[in-house]
């Protein structure tokens, strides 16, 4: 590499590190996380050892290094947690006024804001997502969710569910690994605001930010048992789903597991909401604002390494501009900075687990076999850790597996359409129905398209935008129920 600061000719400056898109490492400090060596289960306001003394490790997917030892919650731990939640509900929380519940939630929101840097580092270490995203998206949204729902706790009679809507009781909540803290906030905040108590089961590969949240709940003075956090694998989640003391189950995860849960819960009294997978269509009309649209497609599929249920994983581009769009897209993909998630300049981080990486590779191999044209970034991938270079498949058709199955990785499938009708037909030609994007400068066409799309969320001239005031959720096999907005209260009220 050229040495800098000696030869000041124009050429050298142009070829300097800045000019060729290389930036010096700008690492965030892992020490800020203050990780413990091992963590217990958070039950009845305290961290306790698991009943069967079983443990497992959580690793950093970018380096494969161990981060901490986590407790495996057994069936009896789940039982303890549910009993603690029930007791807290009967004796304390159901007797706490809305105004007081609100103040607890405001405190939690504030402490998340105060400890935001620590939480962002923990999230990036455990999940593999870039520190820029944890810092600028995950943590602020988590705080905002608590803030928003705090404000509903003492206003439930204005939410449109009647004069005095009541909570359901004890909620069992199972969350995924893609937005660990944010998902915890999406579940806990409305449930607590509405007056329920909770047992939360974080994902197996990303328990740390939830455990840190347990500490925050202690700092906020939340009464014992109102929230319980039981870490573990699928078996722990099963135990929670099956426990007769739980009145409501909320699950975010794959459609496959969602189906099983719905089957198990079908014969019980439990209320259920599901937020499952998707194969979002990003529809680009020929009059789309070109540069912002390219960014939007990139954000739609490569944000969070594509580990997003609502990812715009199918690009439906109007055929008249398809070549130009593809050319610009491929050029832009090549600019994505893939690497150390703790570097503040990283755009794309690590794949969350070996399992997920295997699945992505299988589907991508299938895509090649099916005859799609593959473009993959030539970026260098680190030797250790789980990585997949951003990939675009062109010449994809509706019958290809990569157009139908959720890959949940940084892989975009590009299809074309001729007319708005065709765009809608293709977009809706899936059993999923979570999110779609529409790109056009013509308002009437955008609204016409949005009206006809079978999707819980439609983004126009933008993508992957979340806000606690905006209801989020799917149609058909993407699940049912909404999180966010006043609609998000319904899942946790006895209405």
């Amino acid at each position: 590499m050229n040495s800098v600061g000696t030869d000041m000719t124009e050429n050298n400056l142009a070829n300097s590190k800045l000019g060729s898109l290389q930036y010096d490492p700008a690492p965030e400090s892992a020490a800020i996380a203050k990780l413990k060596s091992s963590y217990g289960l958070f039950i009845n306001g305290k961290f306790t050892d698991p009943s069967k003394h079983e443990q497992f490790e959580t690793i950093n997917p970018a380096t494969e290094k161990r981060l901490a030892t986590i407790s495996q919650g057994s069936t009896s731990d789940i039982d303890k947690a549910v009993k603690a939640a029930r007791k807290a509900y009967d004796n304390v929380w159901s007797k706490t006024t809305g105004a007081e519940r609100a103040k607890y939630l405001y405190r939690i929101a504030r402490i998340i804001q105060e400890r935001s840097r620590e939480l962002a580092v923990v999230e990036t270490l455990d999940n593999g997502k870039p520190i820029r995203e944890s810092r600028d998206v995950d943590i602020p949204l988590a705080a905002a969710h608590f803030f928003y729902y705090a404000g509903w706790a003492d206003k439930l009679e204005h939410a449109g569910f009647g004069n005095a809507p009541k909570p359901i009781g004890v909620a069992g909540q199972i969350i995924p690994w893609n937005f660990p803290l944010m998902m915890a906030a999406w579940k806990l905040a409305p449930a607590l605001a509405a007056g329920n108590t909770c047992v939360l089961k974080p994902a197996e590969t990303t328990p740390l930010s939830a455990l840190l949240l347990g500490e925050i709940l202690q700092q906020a003075g939340l009464p014992d048992g109102v929230v319980n956090i039981v870490t573990g694998d699928g078996a722990t989640g099963s135990a929670l789903v099956d426990h007769p003391g739980v009145d409501k189950i909320a699950f975010t995860g794959s459609t496959g597991v969602g189906r099983l849960i719905q089957q198990r819960v079908a014969t019980s009294h439990k209320r259920l909401t599901l937020e499952l997978g998707g194969k979002g269509a990003n529809i680009v009309y020929e009059d789309a604002p070109i540069d912002e649209m390219i960014e939007g497609i990139i954000d739609g599929i490569f944000f969070n390494q594509g580990h997003v249920c609502c990812a715009g994983s199918r690009l439906l581009v109007q055929e008249s501009i398809a070549d130009d769009v593809l050319r610009r897209l491929v050029r832009r993909v090549e600019q994505l900075r893939v690497g150390d998630p703790m570097d503040k300049n990283t755009d794309i981080g690590a794949i969350n687990s070996a399992d997920q990486l295997k699945r992505i590779k299988e589907l991508v191999a299938y895509g090649e076999q099916e005859g799609a044209t593959r473009y993959t970034s030539s970026c260098e991938l680190p030797k250790k850790g789980f990585w997949f270079a951003p990939t675009v498949f062109a010449d994809v058709s509706q019958s290809h597996r990569i157009a139908r199955e959720e890959i949940f990785g940084p892989v975009l499938s590009v299809l074309t359409f001729r007319t708005p009708e065709e765009a809608i037909t293709k977009a809706n030609n899936t059993n999923y129905g979570l999110a779609c994007g529409v790109w056009s400068e013509k308002g009437s066409r955008t609204l016409w398209t949005a009206e006809r799309l079978r999707a819980g969320v439609v983004w126009a001239n933008t993508y992957n935008k979340f806000d606690p005031t905006s209801p989020f959720g799917g149609t058909r096999e993407s699940g049912f129920g909404r999180e966010g907005g006043k609609h998000g209260l319904e899942a946790y009220l006895n209405v």
Binding site: Y106, F147, G151, K155, H158, S444, W448, P468, K486
Partner: protein, 284 residues
């Protein structure tokens, strides 16, 4: 033991984020309910009001340009400030209203909780008061509540903090800026709360507080044409009639004192919003 001489506080107006004396130079005596001297409060004038309106008008655009989430956080921070200085507020509610410690404490606690209640409304008003309208025809139609603008509030004469909070924080939560006339005889808790807005990230001019003689200032407030709405809570029924008549000159929104005790009613939010409805064609 030697008695240390206290450094006494001067109580001034709050206009555009600063604390000036009245441009008229006048002041008037404020005493406790029992008649003890408390302070020489600024006696606000017509020109002070004029300055406050100019400040409030400019500030309202800035206030509305913040996200609803932001406005909620600012108002919540006011509650944080009030909580941390609640001893001071309790002392002056006690002195101003002539109630005992227990009642004063309960009143301050209630006032702070009401600030928190309104803080939580900023990002929900449009969800409750607005919505999509299913018109006949291929149109996307939705109604959005926007703030009326600059609101003049004649705050209650007797309830020196709770009443002040109720009448002032509500229009702020809806996105308006406010010029508040404090209680004539019991202004100090309001002035204290005004000081706390200055450490709560309120943009300058969003809340302005004028102390003085209500019968002198209220008519000015009611007839000032660049005020969009007026809350008459702090005047008698007959005076309210006169003021409402003046307000009609510029078609102000007028909120009369409420006779019903509506717990958790949002009529104070509804009073100072304008529903704006947008139609957009739907078609290929």
């Amino acid at each position: 033991m030697s008695d240390r001489l206290e450094v006494r506080k001067t109580y001034k107006l709050l206009i555009n984020g600063a604390f000036p004396r009245s441009e008229s130079g006048r002041s008037y005596e404020v005493t406790s309910a029992k008649g003890e001297f408390l302070a020489n409060a600024a006696q606000g004038s017509r020109k002070d009001l004029r300055d406050a309106v100019v400040a409030a008008r400019a500030a309202q655009a800035k206030w509305w340009s913040l996200s609803a989430y932001n406005r909620g956080q600012v108002i919540y921070r006011l509650a944080e400030m009030a909580e941390s200085r609640s001893d001071e507020l309790v002392e002056f509610v006690k002195l101003s209203e002539g109630v005992n410690s227990e009642k004063a404490k309960a009143s301050v606690a209630k006032a702070i909780d009401r600030i928190v209640w309104y803080a939580g409304w900023t990002d929900k008003i449009s969800q409750v008061l607005g919505g999509a309208n299913p018109v006949s025809g291929p149109f996307y139609n939705f109604s959005v509540p926007k703030p009326s603008g600059v609101i003049g509030v004649i705050t209650p004469q007797d309830s020196s903090l709770e009443g002040f909070v109720e009448c002032v924080i509500a229009p702020l939560a809806a996105g308006n800026s406010v010029i508040a006339l404090a209680s004539e005889k019991r202004p100090i808790p309001a002035v204290l709360l005004g000081e706390m807005t200055e450490t709560s990230d309120f943009p300058a001019g969003v809340l302005n507080i004028i102390t003085g003689i209500t019968s002198e200032l209220a008519p000015e407030l009611a007839s000032h044409e660049d005020i969009d709405g007026i809350d008459l809570e702090g005047v008698s029924a007959s005076f309210a009639d006169e003021l409402a008549f003046r307000a009609a000159g510029s078609i102000k929104r007028v909120l009369r004192p409420s006779k019903k005790n509506q717990k958790n009613s949002i009529h104070r939010l509804r009073a100072f919003v304008e529903t704006s409805t947008v139609w957009h064609t739907i078609g290929q």
